[in-house]
């Protein structure tokens, strides 16, 4: 529906990430590199998943349980990859600390580490938004629009943009929570991230029911807000602890 609508949909999905990028990430070149490598890693995970599932596609879209299996395997795979990502990051952190010692500059502060985690999460969110939403937006720049049967009140592009926005929030802040919890060894939070990811994925299954998106999407946003709040609480707790330690 014209260029304006197309750009509008793209900004609905990616607007907050763009704001985050411009305000936080573009200031430090290393964070831009982290963002790009994180996006690449999640793209590779999507390609591997599609490679595994290629033989079974196209799925019969009348039943929902093949999609449930697909979701479950995909989320499990991505969470495993997140663990791997953490291990690689840990090694990189050690190298960077050694480098900082050699050039006699201070080691990475807690805020630096959290910014790297944020960039990693933003990469995950951007990968999701770009591949699930933006790459399908090309027809939206044309003169017409497209509706899906199951969610026929609003155009398909808008629905996918809204869902993508929720997932961007979930992914971005999950990474911060995950990195913090792996660093602290906090088991509850380590479980929080995969559970929220799986729950968010399962919420989208509700979209299978006719008119289900009216229920499914607000629930999805509930997950996103939950992630945001939890991340905010965790970060403020860690920062105040750190500050208290530093100034004592």
């Amino acid at each position: 529906m014209t260029v304006a609508a197309g750009i509008g949909y793209a900004l609905v999905a990616l607007g907050p990430s763009l704001a985050l990028f411009v305000s936080v990430i573009s200031k430090k070149p290393f964070l831009i590199l982290t963002l790009l490598s994180s996006t690449l890693v999640w793209l590779i995970s999507l390609i591997i998943l599609s490679g595994i599932w290629r033989a079974f596609l196209p799925l019969n879209s009348a039943t929902w349980w093949p999609f449930a299996i697909l979701l479950f395997t995909s989320v499990a795979f991505q969470e495993g990859l997140r663990l791997l990502f953490w291990k690689v990051y840990k090694r990189l952190e050690d190298i960077m600390d050694a480098f900082a010692d050699r050039v006699s500059k201070p080691r990475l502060y807690l805020t630096d580490k959290m910014q790297i985690a944020l960039a990693g999460g933003l990469g995950h969110g951007v990968a999701h938004a770009v591949f699930f939403c933006l790459s399908l937006l090309t027809p939206a720049f044309g003169p017409a629009t497209y509706f899906v049967d199951r969610c026929s009140q609003i155009p398909f592009f808008l629905v996918s943009a809204i869902i993508a926005l929720a997932f961007v929030m979930v992914h971005t802040f999950s990474m911060v929570i995950a990195f913090n919890s792996y660093a602290e060894g906090n088991k509850v939070d380590q479980l929080f991230v995969p559970v929220v990811h799986l729950a968010a994925g399962m919420m989208t299954l509700i979209n299978f029911a006719s008119g289900g998106c009216i229920v499914g999407i607000p629930l999805l946003y509930l997950m996103a807000i939950l992630t945001l709040m939890h991340c905010g609480r965790m970060v403020s707790r860690r920062l105040t602890e750190n500050h208290r330690q530093g100034s004592s």
């Binding site: 590199l33 790009l36 999507l46 390609i47 999701h128 933006l134 790459s135 399908l136 629905v159 979209n207």
Partner: protein
């Protein structure tokens, strides 16, 4: 709060040079994708050039025929490129540098004037812009002349020079995307292999050129994009200096000028040297080639000798040979990337845009990853390395993986509003 004034970590500027070379590459790719998606409706514009003399693709041929035809086309193109590169090496050996420089200027003028003019004509047709011949010609002529001056005279603002280089890359890349599909893909792969051979084999023309240039301490007349050098205001050393390193060494002391003397063959007489000289010369004396400066406490930086990569872009109008260098390091420590690399990356992404945007994003990430890997290899091996092969290989791989695997998966999930 006392915490506000704590010293900044090295993370603030780590990796800045890489970003400074990534940004123009991304801009060039983005502009080519934009051009391709806007101007693509008249896809009947087929270009006859050296790259299609052996076979012109028609959609009714079988896959095998198309592949064979594309292979013949690409081999013919690479053969012409090899011959032209050897001629260039010969001319450089015979010290005809003036001639080469004039030829470079002429080819830039042709690219900016004729190719740019044709693309502008496409735009005018597409959007029915009301402009008359004479204004158009005057504007085009001025644009092209300023471009030639920017690229070959060193006194222009660095942004103008960089902008014109990106534009030249964009125009040539757009023209390459007008080639038929199979020919484009096979050409990309064959050019990557040629690049690998020409830079790494002992008889490769590019390697000969690099060795000649280094042994003579001269710069090669070439179209090369040099990123703005990173200047560090190091509070520790107390003075503003520019690090100048060619070989990777971690040094905390003033380095010798002897080590620097072979550094400099790569002074590309462009505005970068003037910027550098004006901004930060510690001991004030600006020596023409070698500048010494105190190395600020050792941030190990990427350094590598020049890598040459030549590309001869040809089209039906004239045989032009644009001499372009591959990846390397300028005398001021900034990363240099040859325009040929810009062009082929953009051709890959532009061709991916002709299919769908999902492939564009995937190929962009792949090319950036390839560039990063090449830079790391550069820092590791410290010799001339070709910038094309890794990126093109990854790009082509990701294109086909995305087109045949990812797209089906994503569309299936998205249309049912199932996402994760």
């Amino acid at each position: 709060m006392a915490q506000n004034q704590r010293p900044t970590t090295f993370l603030d500027s780590f990796g800045e040079e890489i970003i400074r070379i990534l940004t123009p590459v991304s801009i060039c790719m983005f502009l080519v994708v934009l051009l391709v998606s806007i101007l693509n409706s008249n896809s009947s514009a087929s270009v006859t050039s050296i790259a299609t003399i052996a076979y012109s693709e028609t959609s009714s041929d079988s896959s095998w025929d198309k592949f064979l035809g594309a292979l013949l086309n690409s081999l013919a193109f690479v053969a012409v490129v090899t011959v032209a590169t050897f001629i260039l090496v010969l001319l450089f050996y015979l010290r005809c540098t003036k001639f080469l420089k004039i030829y470079m200027g002429f080819s830039s003028f042709v690219v900016l004037g004729f190719m740019g003019g044709e693309i502008a004509l496409f735009f005018i047709e597409e959007f029915s812009v009301p402009i008359d011949c004479i204004s158009y010609l005057v504007v085009l002529f001025n644009f092209a002349v300023v471009g030639v001056l920017a690229v070959f005279m060193s006194k222009m603002a660095i942004l103008v020079t960089q902008g014109y280089l990106v534009l030249i890359g964009m125009f040539v890349a757009y023209w390459f995307t007008l080639l038929p599909e199979w020919t484009t893909w096979v050409l990309l792969v064959v050019m990557a292999l040629y690049d690998l051979a020409a830079v790494l084999l002992p008889v490769g023309p590019l390697r000969l050129l690099v060795e000649l240039a280094m042994s003579r301490d001269e710069d090669i007349p070439a179209l090369v994009y040099e990123a703005r050098p990173v200047t560090h205001h190091d509070s520790g050393s107390g003075e503003n200096t520019v690090r100048r390193r060619v070989w990777r060494e971690r040094r905390n002391v003033r380095h010798d000028s002897e080590d620097n003397s072979n550094l400099d063959g790569n002074v590309v007489s462009d505005s970068n040297s003037t910027v550098v000289a004006v901004q930060h010369c510690h001991n004030g004396s600006i020596i023409a080639r070698v500048e010494e400066g105190q190395v600020s406490e050792g941030n190990a930086e990427l350094s590598a000798p020049l890598i040459d990569h030549r590309m001869n872009g040809q089209d039906g109008m004239s045989t032009e040979s644009l001499v372009l260098e591959g990846m390397g390091l300028g005398s001021s420590g900034a990363i240099k990337l040859g325009l040929g690399d810009f062009i082929f990356y953009s051709v890959l992404v532009g061709r991916a845009a002709m299919y769908d945007f999902m492939t564009v994003y995937a190929c962009y990430l792949a090319i950036v990853a390839g560039l990063g890997i090449t830079l790391m290899l550069l820092a590791f091996y410290q010799k001339a390395l070709p910038a094309l092969p890794v990126s093109i290989a990854l790009g082509v791989l990701f294109y086909f993986l995305t087109r045949f695997l990812l797209e089906v998966f994503i569309v299936q999930c998205s249309l049912n509003l199932v996402m994760f």
